[in-house]
């Protein structure tokens, strides 16, 4: 049963770095898990915790928030907000007994297509080990 | 399916969109949808009746039926304003929607036989009035004189514009107005109540029906009273936020009355006794 499980993963990728990074991974024909769905957002700082929980509620098994490296944010500080939110959200998810490993914050620049692909593959494997997410699924 | 819908008032029956007409374009777009009931016969209704149009995934909205039962099919004119209506505006001919109804208390058109009919409409409020004047036109021998007073912000915002122009050409008493002056506009410029004041309709043996934005209704009523109309001669249809449409869920309640069940048509003397001003 577990072997058949294909995790569904949602990535919120920032328009300026990570989305371009994902794009690069695609154009350089790097292989990464096909289970990843990318939502382009203007900045990782706009990703509201409710959006993350909503993704879990809609049945995603893992969520990645991908933004620019610290200091590189197009809006100067957006990724700092993201970091604060994700760090705290992970703590809170842990507290309520939800696997916080299903949520990941990732820094990936426009040039890091390879890193993006690798991270996606690793994350997919991690989620595969955790199994299907049923707790928030509505 | 119809039989089931009757026993379970929450189940809509299936209707197909067979025609879509653009009435008004732009930000406050209005489209008229012509629907045909698919699973069963066309239902009976009277002018003033309302229906809940349901789009699964979005919800339901209440609309008053825009055409007379004497005309074929069922028409709704929909102002694009929220979740359901935006979706309706995206729909195409051949798409299916749900229909629950007809609900509520319609205009007492049978009681009005032999009387003059005056409709006073503003903006999208013309919808239920269209049903009335079409009905009166189709049963012209039963009624006295028909007068249609209608206005909108600009000439582009007039719903059923071509139809009304045709009526003028055919010799009907139709008085159009727009709020803001425009070139090539041959009709009245000003608000609907001002147009009423100018036209001075005769209260004798006349029924007036007002429908439009709340402020227009209030001022028009005042003008009609000045002209000698009694509250018992004036009707209006009300709108409230509605959900169930069958007199249960409570949100359209006007004190002890449900707009969906005891309305949407009210005679003005029924409303003036309310504590809370609608």
């Amino acid at each position: 049963m577990m072997e058949d499980f294909e995790p569904k993963i949602l990535v919120f990728a920032c328009n300026w770095c990570s989305y371009a990074g994902a794009d690069l991974a695609g154009t350089s024909r790097l292989q990464y898990a096909p289970n990843v769905r990318i939502v382009r957002v203007m900045c990782s700082g706009m990703v509201n915790p409710a959006m993350i929980l909503y993704a879990f509620r809609k049945g995603f098994d893992g969520v990645v928030v991908a933004g620019c490296h610290p200091g590189d944010c197009h809006y100067n500080v957006g990724n700092y907000y993201a970091k604060k939110r994700i760090v705290l959200l992970k703590e809170m998810l842990d507290f309520i007994g939800f696997e916080s490993d299903r949520l990941k914050l990732l820094w990936a620049s426009a040039a890091e297509g390879k890193k993006f692909a690798e991270e996606m593959t690793n994350f997919t494997e991690r989620i595969r080990k955790l199994g299907p997410q049923t707790k928030f699924r509505g | 399916m119809i039989a089931e819908s009757i026993s379970n008032p929450y189940l809509p029956f299936k209707a197909e969109i067979i025609e879509i007409r653009d009435e008004v374009k732009g930000l406050r777009a209005i489209k008229t949808f012509r629907l045909k009931v698919v699973d069963g016969d066309r239902f009976d209704y009277k002018p003033g009746h309302g229906c809940l149009v349901s789009v699964f995934g979005r919800g339901e909205s209440w609309f008053t039926i825009a055409n007379s039962p004497t005309r074929p099919d069922i028409e709704f004119s929909v102002l694009k304003t929220g979740k359901v209506t935006t979706k309706l505006h995206e729909m195409k001919v051949g798409d299916l929607v749900g229909l629950r109804g007809p609900h509520g208390r319609p205009f007492p058109v049978d009681e009005w036989k032999g009387m003059n009919i005056l409709t006073v409409g503003g903006g999208i409020g013309q919808t239920p009035l269209r049903s009335v004047y079409q009905y009166v036109m189709d049963n012209y021998s039963d009624y006295g004189e028909l007068t249609v007073v209608y206005g909108a912000r600009t000439s582009k915002d007039l719903v059923y514009r071509d139809e009304l122009m045709q009526m003028i050409e055919d010799g009907y008493n139709v008085h159009l107005s727009i709020d803001i002056p425009e070139e090539d506009w041959e009709h009245f410029v000003g608000y609907v109540p001002d147009n009423l004041k100018r036209l001075k309709p005769e209260p004798e043996n006349t029924i007036a029906i007002i429908c439009g934005p709340p402020i227009m209704i209030t001022i028009s009523l005042r003008v009609l009273k000045e002209l000698g109309f009694r509250e018992e001669q004036v009707y209006t249809t009300l709108e409230r936020r509605m959900k169930c449409g069958i007199g249960k869920c409570g949100r359209c309640r006007l004190e002890s009355k449900y707009v969906c069940k005891d309305g949407p048509v009210f005679r003005y003397d029924e409303l003036s006794t309310l504590l809370e001003k609608a």
């Binding site: - | 299936k14 936020r241 007199g247 949100r251 002890s256 504590l275 809370e276």
Partner: protein, 323 residues
């Protein structure tokens, strides 16, 4: 009225459980499921019994391309030890859901839920005596009153008579002394009430509609939906769709205390201010419902007083109105 030697609530609960019927009894929070008759307590649950007939969420339609499922809940359930005020509220809810267009979801649950009410003593917030009595049998299928080790039992509805059929040999007619005892107990309990309201307050309310007191009362009100959600007679609901292509259309409790309740898409809101919404709750229960249904839609359970975060008190408010 018949007499049963012993605690009839326990006996009937055990028998129903044996028959495979799910049995519910009062607990601190709600009427919760029990699996043994010893779990029947006498507390007044915070949630009323209305959720058995009109649950907070009820799926009306399951849809895909078109209607796929219409789930009617016909599970046989029994609620024992229902407070008489809660039972009376069911009678009022019947008037909403079964009159006019009949609500099939409510009907299905109503027909399959056995309500066994039990007389009770008032707590500090109760005022049911103003409308009826803690010995009222209205709305119940079977009414039970336990006094000094014996139970007075009365089948109120056909459904109740059906249940009592299995107990004919254990039930007997009361003696004159027992009837006397019942009367005395009723008299005693009536004397325990600390609160009362004037039920015939409609004319006064019409006068006070535009009074400033509503704004004053509303200052403390936080504008939540606690009073309406816990009220056994509040019946307003919302209908929502969940799922774009495939999903459910369900109804959920709604409250006239929420600004979203009456907000129209044009942004017009007939009750925009908090004090208007607060006022609406009292007028609805004590005036509008009397005008439309002939009943005051309050049963005097006191939940809206004890659970109000801000201390808004329906008894004090009505006293203020009648002043």
């Amino acid at each position: 009225m018949l007499v049963y030697e012993g605690d009839f609530l326990k006996t009937v609960a055990s028998k129903l459980m044996k028959e495979g019927c799910r049995v519910y009894a009062p607990s601190e929070i709600a009427y919760t499921e029990i699996n043994h008759d010893s779990q029947i307590s006498d507390v007044k649950p915070k949630k009323s019994v209305k959720e058995f007939l009109f649950p907070q969420n009820e799926v009306l339609i399951g849809y895909g391309d078109w209607i796929e499922k219409v789930p009617l809940n016909r599970e046989r359930r029994a609620v024992v030890g229902v407070k008489p005020c809660d039972a009376r509220a069911i009678k009022l809810l019947d008037r909403i859901f079964l009159e006019g267009f009949e609500d099939p979801y409510y009907r299905a649950r109503r027909e399959n839920t056995i309500i066994i009410s039990s007389s009770c003593e008032p707590d500090a917030y109760c005022f049911c005596e103003s409308f009826s009595s803690p010995f009222s049998e209205e709305g119940a299928d079977i009414f039970v009153s336990r006094i000094d080790g014996i139970s007075f039992v009365k089948a109120v509805s056909e459904k109740g008579k059906e249940v009592l059929k299995g107990f004919e040999s254990d039930l007997r007619n009361p003696t004159d002394q027992e009837i006397e005892k019942f009367r005395n107990e009723e008299e005693r309990v009536r004397g325990l009430f600390r609160r009362s309201v004037e039920a015939e307050i409609q004319e006064k309310m019409k006068e006070k509609f535009d009074s400033e007191i509503w704004k004053e009362i509303a200052i403390g009100c936080v504008g939540c939906g606690t009073c309406t959600f816990l009220c056994p007679t509040c019946f307003c609901f919302d209908m929502l769709d969940e799922g774009e292509k495939k999903g459910i259309r369900y109804r959920a409790w709604d409250s006239c205390q929420f600004p979203l309740y009456t907000l129209e898409s044009s942004s017009h809101n007939p009750r925009r201010e908090k004090w208007q919404r607060l006022r609406n709750r009292f007028y609805d229960k004590f005036l509008y419902m009397v005008e439309s249904k002939g009943n005051v839609f309050c049963v005097g359970c006191g939940r809206c007083i004890s659970e109000c975060p801000a201390g808004v008190d329906i008894v004090e408010v009505l006293q203020e109105v009648s002043r």
